[in-house]
Amino acid sequence: MTAPTISTDIVTSSEDPFGPEVLHDPLPFQARLREAGPVVYLPTYNVYAMGRYSDVHAALTDWQTFECSAGVGLSNFRKEKPWRPPSLLLEADPPFHNAPRAVLSKILGARQLHTLQAQWATDADDVVDALVSSTLEFDAVPALAEAFPLRVFPDAVGIPHEGRERLLPYGDHLFNAFGPENALVQRGAGTIGEISGWVNDQCARNVLTPGGFGAEIWAAADRGDISHEQAPTIVRSLLSAGVDTTVHALAAVLYALASNSEQWVLLQSDPNLARRAFDEAIRLESPVQTFFRTTTRDIRVGGTLIPQGEKILMFLGSANRDERRWQNPDAFDLTRDPSGHVGFGMGIHQCVGQHVARLEAATVMAALLKRVKTIEVNGPVTRHLNNTLRAWESLPMRVTLK
């Protein structure tokens, strides 16, 4: 790897943030990126990268200057055809973004989720009880991080049981496809046609069970708050953005608690810290590591002039560990206030599913706190490489019971 070099007034780095080396362990690269300056040009992809908290936060918030409708991945939709019809949420700007966002914000609002709370608590108890009654040593990725969201989330959206195993590879490919067309994207390319077709089929009105998020999206179309043509694509957003993200976020908090026993003890002594624990894990691990924007005008960031129409790569994960913003940023610390992290983004595109994710995590943590006395990592953990997600393959854990 080469150190960043200064050419005239623009800092350049020849590193590949989507190469296997950086994806395995993005932290050293991100530290160099933050050190190099507010904006670093990456000639490998002809993009401008931001890694410091204040710049990433500002770019996420300033939708007027940093637009989404040219795609939030490397591909520029003004020049290349998107691999699937663009999202009406994440790949849209105002005014087109307004109506779909208003509808989803309401459906996924914290108060709307109260009705799910009791059921999800029972589901979490069931999943944890069944697991620890059969074994005290397990791989937490399939056993908890995948098992729980796959049990509750597709039901909440209202899709049938048949075929749900496709949701994880769908999300995996989708999040890979925000990056360059590297081996990770090629790996998924063969099957994605069939999987996408299945996902699209699940968004149809007659497939979705009454009362679920999906049916509520269609009901909003009946009220005229969105159009009927938009409804299936908005349902698709939930199936795209709501599964893998939560899986890797749950794995992140489980790993953080299992590898910091004093924090687990602290959490046991004050279960009210569970919400903070989840957001602190999101800050630390940033399951969604990066997203792109495109400049709508020439803009000066720090000393660098970024021309209009350029792709900006924002490192949420790096911002969340920026020592300019966070004290001792690499520590998982439940006495820290993680408020203001950008792990869910910020501004008008900030994760509309964050209350869903937090409720899932809260119920899982509550179930664990009921049954489990100690929790530790029990063997080498393996990452799953993805161009956008900080993902997990395997997380061996051992627990003892109360």
């Binding site: 005014p95 609002g109 108060r111 005229g224 903070r276 408020s339």
Partner: protein
Amino acid sequence: MQLIVRDKYYQTDDLVSVVLSRTDGGRLPDWTPGAHIDVFLPNGLARQYSLCGDPWNTDNYHIGVLGALESRGGSRFIHDELKIGSVVGLGGPRNNFALTPSKTLLFVAGGVGITPILPMINQAEQMGISWRLLYLGRNLASMAFRDRVERFSDRVTLHPGDELGRMAVSDWIGAPRDGTKIYVCGPERLLTTVTEHCADWQMGTVRAERFTARKFDAPLRSGSFEILMAGSGKVIRVLPTESMVAALRSAGVNTLTSCGMGICGTCEMSVLSGVPDHRDSILDEDERLAGNCMFPCVSRSLTDRLVLGL
């Protein structure tokens, strides 16, 4: 959030434009056409005003305030007392009148009801939606913001009542058509006419904004108040100059927030007793009146004490 009056000028004899920005110069909370804000006036009143500027402008909110004939003190204060440099409090923005996807949009504005329609027209233009506007007023001189719609003269019908008499609003709207939505804002009588004319149209066709003042259960307060944490019995005082979140944090109470502007909903807390002074952009009217939850990053208290489920 505190806003400062940056500019104030008369559009007509009785309608004044007020331009507001943040006292700290920061970016204002985002809004979408149709939205309004609560303005908390120094005389202790709160009133709602539609945003009539441009959502792309993050420095300024523009509102147009009609001097009400029998004012209990809101619009009168704004007209007579509020000056460039005065500071007011902000609630919202909130939007109960949002533009929704449509093939054709019909806007019907009566008098000051033009304010929320102005940014909607720009939005319709940006989205390539065909639209028409019927703008009714007492007389031409009283009809503010005509300059903002003049360039669309082929799509705008101005109807000054003194010259043209009663307008046959129903004729202007015409027969039901698929994919058409009607946005109406103005006096109650106008809203009734339009709603009744379209009673048989498809659900969600007519969207009306009423300028009837929001009810507060208790007088606004500008002094400090107390938070009682139901779980621990701890009492925390919130000073007029600090947010609830700031007070909770300095008392060592763990409060997760994210946007800090009453938009994302991360800091929601349950209210067991007391009446919150809601300043968020999240709760709708019913949820606010229910009063059982609040967002302490921006909201405050109308009562001496709030008991929170902490």
